[in-house]
């Protein structure tokens, strides 16, 4: 869009607007309300609802303003008797077959059709013919469908295609027989639920929130996603201490992600009010004994005594799912209370090599959307950073960006790629080396790609203008990440801005990396300390199997659920979930975003940072927070350079997120890392076998507990290592149409405790698997 201004007259008033602006947007900006259903910014044009009709001079008929681009001297009328008549008639036609079952419909109260008909429609119905009654049905356990309520705006099909690239939902038949349907009657997709979000009527509904309450009864709390590192903004709908649903509707929240959410963010909230939450502090008085419920006073006292007995040799481990405040308080506990340097985070990868060698700034999601060239090395954003994946897809589809993917697996995004370099399995390090050091020709055989492919890649980058964004996943080793982050700056030129985008796994991986600067490695902490204070659970299963934990004298775990880590714990303190605490998360673009308390902590749970400061106070150190989250954040901001000067009021507006400026290291001498990388690459076995076959996105997502075959995402019920039963407590199991679970699901379920065999019809399958 150019910045050239043209003149448009709307209802007699003249406005200077940008050339190429869409008429409906211009009218709405100038406060001329134009009704529409099918128009949705950021999606392809449809012009099927005919509600946005306007009169444009010298055009013979009324025109749909959503498809008109402003031209110079255009004279537009948006309100007249003629237009109102047309709009009223459209409203009447839409209602011709729309059942008036608003009292039963879950969308009632926030339904765009309901509001529009009140404003523009003819509320009196003149049709006496009976309506086509079609029964409600479930397209999947979490998507309910009432075809009769559909007004065929096709927002859902466009979202499915353009945002998710899945085409799982499509319009079938023609004319008056058109229905929105799925292939085979079953929604075979990643179940992101974005079709539910954008539906203006009650046609597509949240199956987990079915008939639960009404939108005006819910308290809407704007918060941040607790699953993916994209930091998507969402609205938690709670009532009476219970989280009922999570949405990202425009009317409630205006975050970086618009109305986009993924399956975990939208439906994975059942753990908040789950009956298996730890209710009281638990103490295991004897090794190998049972965890016995106790009071907070007793538990804190017990912990303090035991920590003192261990000579204050306490290691502190924080989980990257916690808020910045909690992680920082844990670090303060290590440094100020027990005076040890044994603190770390339990992330699956260490982000320090990336952030310590940053040569260019981080890209925001908006910059990804408008980037001209994107290089993706490894990673699987469609599963792990879904919003990044959506931005990449839209940058290519709608923005004409060039996407280059270097991967050992032909992931689904390769369909969008202009160049795909298919490397040998696990040889991405070798590619990083080749990318950083072009002189080395011997490693090409390890990569399994021709020199010409790399030359093409470099040529494509060399010719590109505008924003060039480099992302790489966790497939790369720490050295490779350090080297890549540092060489990225070399590609910058006058016409080209280079930006980096990390793809960490957890919601607050970046924040945890910032908070716990100067940490030791997890194994060092586990070896060097006699007692442990663990916030959250350990996410690396190896840390548990190595037997470190069983050899510790005393372990305190702050956790929501019983996990594999709490099995080793001597004291378990009930922690609050993200919906019960105030705090901040830092996302993968460096945005610090608020997490707000939606419900009171369930049972006796307390926020992690409160628990830590209670122990600290009992041990004689007062952090001075006075149990106020803003005070905790102030202390944090004052001691971390990137966060300097930030306060909660700065983070108030979710539509203007604040980006922390991670220090840019500039060019560094990384010969040590390069050598280590080279040694690693040389040790790689040579192979010619490549991974063929695109993994299906969402192939495990309906489980909500695992993300890809590669990544165990133990995040839902128990971050860390859930008990096998817990894995199946959330069985959004795929069902056949006759109500039986699908065969492969049944087999897996049977092997893991057979918790779902009695789950019958899909209707009302809640997260805890009850009908």
């Amino acid at each position: 869009m150019s910045t050239e201004l043209i003149k448009v007259t709307i209802n007699g008033q003249e406005f200077a607007v940008e050339k190429g602006a869409r008429l409906i947007d211009v009218c709405r900006e100038q406060a001329f309300n134009i009704p529409s259903f099918c128009y949705y910014q950021d999606l392809a044009l449809q012009a099927s609802c005919r509600m946005c009709l306007v009169r444009i001079e010298k055009m013979p008929k009324l025109q749909t303003s959503c498809t008109i681009t402003c031209t110079d001297g255009m004279i537009v009328t948006t309100q007249s008797a003629e237009i109102e008549k047309a709009q009223r008639a459209m409203g009447e036609f839409l209602l011709a077959n729309h059942p008036l079952d608003c009292p039963v419909c879950d969308r009632g109260g926030e339904c765009e059709l309901q509001e529009m008909i009140f404003d523009w429609g003819d509320v009196e119905e003149r049709f006496v013919e009976s309506k086509n009654a079609t029964p409600e049905k479930f397209l999947s356990p979490i998507v309910a469908n009432d075809p009769q309520r559909c007004i065929l705006c096709k927002r859902c099909t466009r979202v499915c295609d353009e945002w998710m690239g899945e085409d799982a939902i499509e319009a079938g038949n023609r004319g008056v027989n058109t229905v929105i349907g799925t292939y085979g009657g079953w929604l075979d997709c990643s179940q992101c639920g974005n079709c539910i979000e954008v539906c203006p009527t009650g046609t597509l509904l949240d199956g987990t929130y079915r008939h639960e309450t009404r939108p005006w009864e819910l308290d809407q709390t704007i918060s941040t996603d607790t699953y993916s590192s994209d930091g998507m903004q969402l609205s938690i709908g709670s009532r009476g201490g219970r989280v009922h649903r999570i949405v990202a509707r425009d009317r409630y929240v205006d975050g970086l992600n618009g109305e986009f959410l993924d399956v975990k963010a939208r439906f994975g909230h059942g753990f908040v009010n789950h009956e298996e939450r730890i209710k009281t502090p638990l103490i295991r008085y004897k090794k190998g004994g049972k965890l016995i419920p106790t009071t907070w006073d007793e538990a804190i006292h017990f912990v303090t005594n035991k920590f003192k007995e261990s000579g204050n040799n306490v290691g502190v481990v924080a989980s990257p799912r916690l808020t910045n405040e909690s992680i920082f308080t844990l670090k303060r506990f290590a440094k100020e209370v027990v005076g040890s340097e044994n603190y770390t985070i339990s992330d699956v990868e260490d982000l320090a090599p990336f952030f310590n060698n940053l040569s260019v700034p981080l890209a925001t999601h908006k910059e990804i959307r408008h980037a001209k060239t994107i290089l993706l090395i490894g990673g699987e954003p469609e599963e792990e950073q879904t919003f990044t994946a959506k931005q990449i897809r839209q940058a290519v589809r709608n923005g004409g960006a060039k996407l280059i993917i270097v991967h050992d697996t032909p992931i689904r995004l390769t369909a969008q790629a202009s160049q795909f370099i298919h490397v040998n399995p696990k040889s991405l390090d070798a590619f990083a080396l080749a990318f950083a050091d072009k002189s080395d020709k011997t490693i090409l055989s390890k990569i399994g790609a021709a020199q010409s492919e790399i030359d093409d890649l470099l040529k494509l980058i060399g010719e590109s203008e505008g924003d060039f964004i480099i992302m790489f996943g966790r497939d790369l080793s720490a050295e490779a990440q350090a080297v890549l982050a540092n060489v990225a700056g070399n590609f910058a030129s006058e016409k080209r801005r280079v930006l980096l985008h990390p793809l960490p796994l957890y919601n607050n991986s970046v924040g945890a990396n910032d908070m716990m600067a100067g940490r030791k490695s997890l194994s060092d902490v586990l070896i060097n300390s006699t007692a442990l204070l663990i916030g959250g659970s350990l996410s690396k299963p190896s840390a548990l199997t190595d037997g470190f934990l069983s050899r510790k004298d005393f372990i305190v775990v702050q956790e929501m659920f019983e996990t594999a880590t709490t099995e080793f714990a001597d004291v378990v303190l009930p922690a609050a979930s993200f919906a019960e605490t105030d705090g901040t998360f830092t996302n993968n673009t460096g945005f610090v975003q608020r997490v707000r308390q939606a419900v009171e902590p369930v049972h006796q749970a307390k926020a992690d940072w409160i628990i830590t400061s209670m122990i600290a106070r009992e041990m004689g150190v007062d952090f001075g927070y006075n149990f106020s989250a803003p005070a905790a954040f102030r202390t944090l901001a004052d001691s971390i350079d990137a966060y300097a000067g930030l306060r909660y009021p700065h983070l108030k507006d979710e539509s203007k997120p604040v980006q922390v400026k991670h220090p840019i290291a500039g060019k560094k001498d990384l010969s040590k890392e390069t050598d280590a990388l080279r040694r690693g690459v040389e040790a790689m076995p040579e192979t010619n076998e490549k991974i063929i076959g695109t993994p299906k996105v969402g192939h495990k997502l309906h489980r909500l507990t695992t993300m890809t075959s590669k990544t165990a995402q133990f995040h839902l019920l128990a971050h860390g290592n859930p008990k096998p039963e817990n894995l199946l407590v959330s069985p959004l199991v795929q069902f056949n149409l006759d109500g039986t679970p699908r065969v492969e699901e049944k087999a897996e379920a049977a092997s893991a405790g057979d918790r779902i065999s009695d789950v019958k019809r899909t209707a009302g399958v809640t997260l805890d698997g009850k009908v």
């Binding site: 009292p103 309450t213 009404r214 005006w216 009864e217």
Partner: protein, 173 residues
């Protein structure tokens, strides 16, 4: 003042009072013999609410929350639930029904907005007016107290016929 004038003044005053008393004697009595004789209430009298059922005994309420939304004193509390069973087996007439339906008569002002708001004619005002309880908590009535099939109607009232002229405070005396 002498004693005689005192007597005359007092007698005058008594006679004046008795005149009013005696003049009322032939008129209609206002005292009602409640609870021995039922009180006559107007057909539109707003007493304790009734939750209605259809001809098959299924609750009409679909828990749309409109009554709670219309309530100016915020005394209605509802929890909705879905009941996917077939019509014959389920509790409500529709798939959606109120699992919890509470009215707090400590707060209710009997304005009738809930009745006007109801799209399913599921809630109306009944005639029960004897709502006194010994314990304030008992003023909270649950669905079991409100359902027409379960609510006990008091014997202490009779509803006036529409043609009947019912005593009211507005009546000209």
């Amino acid at each position: 003042m002498s004693l005689i004038s005192d007597v005359i003044q007092s007698t005058k005053a008594i006679l004046l009072g008795m005149k009013e008393t005696i003049s009322q004697l032939p008129k209609q009595s206002w005292t009602v013999q409640y609870p021995d004789v039922p009180i006559t209430v107007q057909p539109r009298y707003r007493g304790q609410h009734l939750l209605h059922v259809d001809e098959m005994g299924k609750e009409k309420c679909v828990a749309c929350y409109l009554c709670a939304a219309a309530c100016p004193s915020d005394c209605i509390y509802i929890e909705a639930e879905t009941d996917p069973r077939p019509y014959e087996e389920r509790i409500g007439r529709d798939e959606r029904f109120a699992r919890v339906y509470n009215i707090d008569y400590g707060r209710c002002i009997f304005c009738g907005y809930c009745v006007e708001a109801c799209p399913k004619d599921a809630i109306t005002h009944g005639y029960n007016f004897e709502l006194s309880v010994y314990n304030r908590a008992d003023l909270l009535k649950t669905k079991d107290d409100l359902l027409i099939t379960k609510q006990k109607q008091s014997k202490n009232y009779r509803v006036a016929l529409s043609s009947e002229d019912v005593d009211s405070e507005y009546k000209e005396v």
